[in-house]
Every structure is written in structure tokens, then in C-alpha cells.
Symmetry: C2
Subunit: 353 residues, 2 copies
């Protein structure tokens, strides 16, 4: 039922110009999506790392707190200030630095398949909550504006922040809306029972699993009335970790969310149907995934065996276009229909609601 686009992957790191000299793009993935008139916009997560041609030096990126973009530090590898014992990170003078860092960048298409990536970053990390980058945006059109929620990463933790824009040219930063540790937030595109609603995915040190929760808000900045929505299902395709997903959309049966689930070996996509008036009530859910990493650009890449969506486009005829990060490296497109996804879901027993 899921048709991969023959042009896949539709965007790769080679399509993206680095944000500055001395950096190379290693990922263009996990994009939020919006359709404005006939134009499809993707807001890509672009991951960059320093190019390094001198083995005597270690190079690592960090984001300026002033929002000046990604800076590169180069330190002699034998310096007593540097610790490179963990390949994912560099510790410099006792402070952790990641080996790559992400910003957000627009790509535009008139046919929904062929994209032109902007030559410059659209949003760069800024401030004390984003020194390790900004990641995985979701875009919600609501009340005449676009809401961009994204992951802000710093030594202080993994938080979720909100930016509002009328036109993707001017942006208003609204601050951290979910404290650590949280990610995979998607705001519903309409008020529900008078309130805004969002899916979110807290991660706890102790009790609990990486499950999907739902929260409500009166004003988009302040969130509460948190409800546990979807749990991981041990032994199934979504047995270890789950999270939204693209922005939920209304169907004739209720709110439909495309979410990701991971087991020990791979990240897949599935669907969850929520009550139209009370989206904290789950009505149905994918017993089996609707998209499994199988294509070479999904099974091989920066992170093998992963499909992960932050953005879908629903066409007026019910066609569902799922843009997804493939292997944490590229953007791919799969097409199905809303009805096919709805028909594939298994009802959730009332007692478990």
C-alpha cells in the first residue's frame, strides 16, 4: 500500500551547501513539511561536521550563543585540554562537544518531488539551550501562522522550543515549551475542545518508558494536563521507543498521527487514531508497521535501518505524502492514502483506553 517515490531519496546531503567554510554536510533529514498554495516546503534538519585534513588536530563544532551560526574549534590532538576517548564527542577543557551539529534549512518544490535547497540556513542554533544544535522540526499551520517546534540540545539537556512565523521569512522565538528530557513534539493543527493540543515524548531516568504523551495549552507557550497516550509494546515493532511523527491531521474517524516506533533493530512508521473531541483517547493503532526500512537508502546510512517522519502532506483527494528521514541521512518520500492507513489500524480495546 505504501509506494516509495522512484526519485528517492529526494534530498541528500550532496544537495546542501555547507553553512560555512570548513564544514561538510553529513545529513539532510527529518524535515517538517508545509504546503503553501502549489509549493511544498520542507524544513530540513541539516547536520554538519568540520572537515579535517590534519590528523594532528581535532576539530569540533559548537553553536554561538549569539546566533552567529556554527563555529569550528581546532585543537592539537595531543593537547592535555582534549579528550577524544568517546568517538561521538570531544571533551575540551572539561566541556562536552558533539562531533556534529544541526541547523534547519528550507527546501522548496512545485511538484512535491524535486526540491531546491536554500543556499543558506533558515534557522541556526541560538542561546544557551541550543549550543549543541537544533533538530527534527515539525510545522503546524494554525490561526494563520506557522508554528515550528523543534528539539533544542545543550549541556542543560534535550528540550523542545517553539518558533512562530507568518511567512518563513520573519521568525518569532517563543522559548522552551517542554523541559528536559523531551523531543518529538507535534502541535495539532486546530483547537480541540477550545484548547491547543500536542503530542510529546518525555524520556525519564527512572520509572516509565519512552512513550507518547499528550498535553493541552491555552496559548501554545504553556502546556499542562499531561496524559499518557501511547506506550511502547514489548516484543512488537514499537517495543523499545516511540514518538511523534508528523503533525496529526483530522480524518472522518478522528485525529490520525503517523508515529515512529523502534525495536532492538530498526525504526519503523505506524499510525494511531485518536478521538476527534478528546485526542487523549486512542481508538486504533498499527499492529504492524506501515513503513519498514528496506530500500538501500533506509538500511544504510549515518544510522542504519531507520525511517523517521517529521512531516506529511495530505492532499484534498486523500493522498497522504509522507516525507521521512532515511537512515538519518537523506529525505525520502512514500505515498499512500489516508483511507488505506485508517483501514490498516487495529481498534484499541475500550478498557485499555
Amino acid at each position: 500500500m505504501m509506494r516509495r517515490d522512484p526519485h528517492n531519496p529526494v534530498i541528500t546531503p550532496a544537495d546542501v551547501i555547507p553553512s560555512r567554510e570548513g564544514l561538510e554536510v553529513i545529513g539532510a533529514f527529518n524535515a517538517g513539511a508545509a504546503k503553501i498554495g502549489e509549493e511544498t516546503l520542507l524544513l530540513l534538519r541539516v547536520a554538519e561536521r568540520p572537515t579535517n585534513d590534519d590528523p594532528d588536530y581535532v576539530a569540533f563544532p559548537h553553536a554561538s550563543e549569539d546566533g552567529d551560526g556554527v563555529q569550528v574549534l581546532r585543537i592539537r590532538r595531543d593537547s592535555p585540554d582534549v579528550d577524544v576517548s568517546d568517538p561521538r564527542a570531544v571533551v575540551y577543557r572539561g566541556q562536552l562537544h558533539l562531533t556534529s551539529i544541526s541547523h534547519l534549512r528550507l527546501a522548496r518544490s512545485t511538484d512535491g518531488v524535486h526540491f531546491r535547497v536554500d543556499p543558506q540556513p533558515t534557522l541556526v542554533p541560538s542561546g544557551m539551550y541550543e549550543e549543541y544544535g537544533i533538530e527534527d522540526p515539525r510545522i503546524t499551520y494554525l490561526d494563520g501562522r506557522y508554528l515550528i517546534v523543534y528539539t533544542s540540545v545543550s549541556r542543560r539537556g534535550v528540550t523542545v522550543s517553539l518558533i512562530r512565523t507568518p511567512d518563513f521569512r520573519t521568525f518569532e522565538r517563543m522559548g522552551v515549551i517542554f523541559p528536559p528530557e523531551n523531543k518529538d513534539v507535534a502541535i495539532f493543527p486546530a483547537r480541540v475542545g477550545g484548547r491547543y493540543a500536542a503530542l510529546h515524548r518525555p524520556s525519564a531516568r527512572g520509572l516509565g518508558s519512552p512513550d507518547i504523551w499528550l498535553a493541552y495549552s491555552e496559548d501554545l507557550r504553556h502546556w499542562g494536563d499531561h496524559r499518557h497516550l501511547l506506550g511502547v509494546r514489548k516484543g512488537m515493532w514499537d517495543g523499545v521507543r516511540i514518538g511523534a511523527g508528523s503533525v496529526p491531521f483530522m480524518t472522518e474517524k478522528g485525529w490520525l498521527a503517523i508515529y515512529h516506533g523502534a525495536d532492538e533493530t530498526r525504526y519503523c512508521l505506524g499510525g494511531a487514531l485518536m478521538d476527534a473531541e478528546a485526542p487523549h483517547v486512542v481508538l486504533a493503532r498499527s499492529q504492524d508497521p506501515i513503513l519498514v526500512p528496506e530500500a538501500p537508502y533506509e538500511t544504510n546510512g549515518f544510522f542504519h535501518n531507520a525511517v523517521f517522519t517529521c512531516g506529511t502532506v495530505v492532499e484534498p483527494d486523500g493522498t497522504l505524502r509522507i516525507f521521512y528521514g532515511a537512515a538519518d541521512q537523506s529525505i525520502a518520500l512514500a505515498v499512500t492514502s489516508v483511507d488505506e492507513v485508517l483501514d490498516s489500524l487495529e481498534p484499541v480495546p475500550v478498557r485499555a483506553r
Copy 2:
């Protein structure tokens, strides 16, 4: 400067009648405090466990989702359904149960030292977020009502919930206000710059430390604009874990919070001063703790070497009465003055703000 009351501990488990037959009280500690006229109220965390006189059986508590209080299950120890390999928990039919469970109960005093504990629980666990109990309440008097924030513990995680009461007789449940993992929430007793404010303590699986954050709210139910407030300080008395503390109170120099800090060996108390108009700005902080576990009821108990406050009372003359959990077992009282605590704080450099 800190004077322990000669009657310490002022409340012990022996002062508390179990909530039902078959349970014994093992802790009466970590109490929220309020002074209403001449009466001092403490809302105790009361921890109970099943009495068990038959070594062939394992007994464990769980809270009814219907709010009917703590129930006890007794299962033959040799049952294949039971796993007792972890002494802190019982796994029954694959589901975790803790070996003790807490509810909240009022204690009353006219002199602030001699307390009479209510014979019945005041608040019992209720609903899907409280099956493992409710813990560590803080009480804030605001807009003519008392706000009780407390930790709700369940298989879904450690969350923070809010209950509102005008009189400690009728209670209105306001739901989960902070998603997992969070605890040690204290709501400020006045609006700041038009908004409500609260200290909270998220705990992350990945990046970040168990630090104190500050959040704002327009309505007490929905919280946002999260700010990192106070970090742990490696190698110091608060080097491993920190958290509020009692409810912050206004002084002539700004908001003063008494918070707890732990290193590898003990839990101590210290103070933090925040800007009166912008409490997310820290002005000064305890270099050394203001209270260290030294008395026998602090160094020995259910959890050794711990002092932990959820409630303080500021008298009109500036006397500061700190009620604190001692060794996770009893309530003790230490008395000082607001001025002495303020004078003991070290200014925080402006650059670090």
C-alpha cells in the same frame, strides 16, 4: 546559626495510625507547611508497607485507581507469578510493585512544635498516574487558596500534579502539571511580572544533570517558558543532585528558596536568592550548606544521612522555621532567621547569571 528544636524529631512514624489494617507506617516525613492563624499545618508524606508475619507469603501494596486507598496483595512466595529478586520491588505477573507506598496526611499544632496527626489520610493516591503513591507535597497560599503540588508515581513515570483547596477539607484535582520525569516542584506565593512561577526538577535519561529549572504559567495548570536556574556543582555539597525545597518567599533582597543538594554521601540544605522581578536570575547561593545531617535522627533511618525540606514557615519577626524530613523517616524542625540565611549566601557572578 541553625538551632535544632529540642523536641526533635517532632513527628515520627509511631505518631501515625496506619491507613488500614495490615499496613504499618514506616515514614512520616517530607511535609508541606502552612500557617493559618495561630495553627501550623503540616501535610505529611506517610509511607506504609504491609505487615507480614508469614514467611511463605510476599505482601505488597498498590493504590486503587478509584481512590479507595492502599490495597494489599498477598501471594505465595513460591508462586511462578512472583519475582522478588530486587529487594525494593515485587514483580507480580510482569508488573512492578513497590514494597511501600505513600499517601498525604495533615498534622496540626498550635505551638509549631507539638503536632497532632489526623487519624485518617487527607489525600490518597487516585487514578492511573498514582498507582505507586503520592509524595513530597509543597503548599503555596495564593489568591485565597492553597495549592498542593506533589509527586505522582506510577508505571508511566514520576510526574507532578496539582490539587487546589480553600480549607484542606474539600480538594479539587487539577491534573498532571509536569510530565515525567519531574519532582520537587514549588509554586511561588505571588505572581511575578504578571505570571505565576514555579521551581521544578526534571531528570533526563541523556544530557543534563538533575538541576533546578524555573517555569512560568498564566493559570497554574499550563507551564512554559522553562529556564535553567541552578545547576549541580561538581565536588561541592550540591554536586550530584539538587531540587526545591520549600516554597520560595520574598525577602528585602529578592526571592529566597531553601533547596536540597546531595553529594555522594548525604543530602543537605542550602539557600538560593533570586531576583524579585525576574526569578530566573540567581543572585546568590550557599557556598556551604546551612543544614547538614548530624543528629542521630538525621544520620540513621530509612535513608541515612538526609535532611530534606518541603515546608518552611516565615514568622512576621523574620524567624524562619524549617520543617524537614530526617533520614526519610521523621519530621524535624530547625529554626534560624531570614537575615542569617541571606547573610550566609555568596553572590553569583553576573556572567554566570
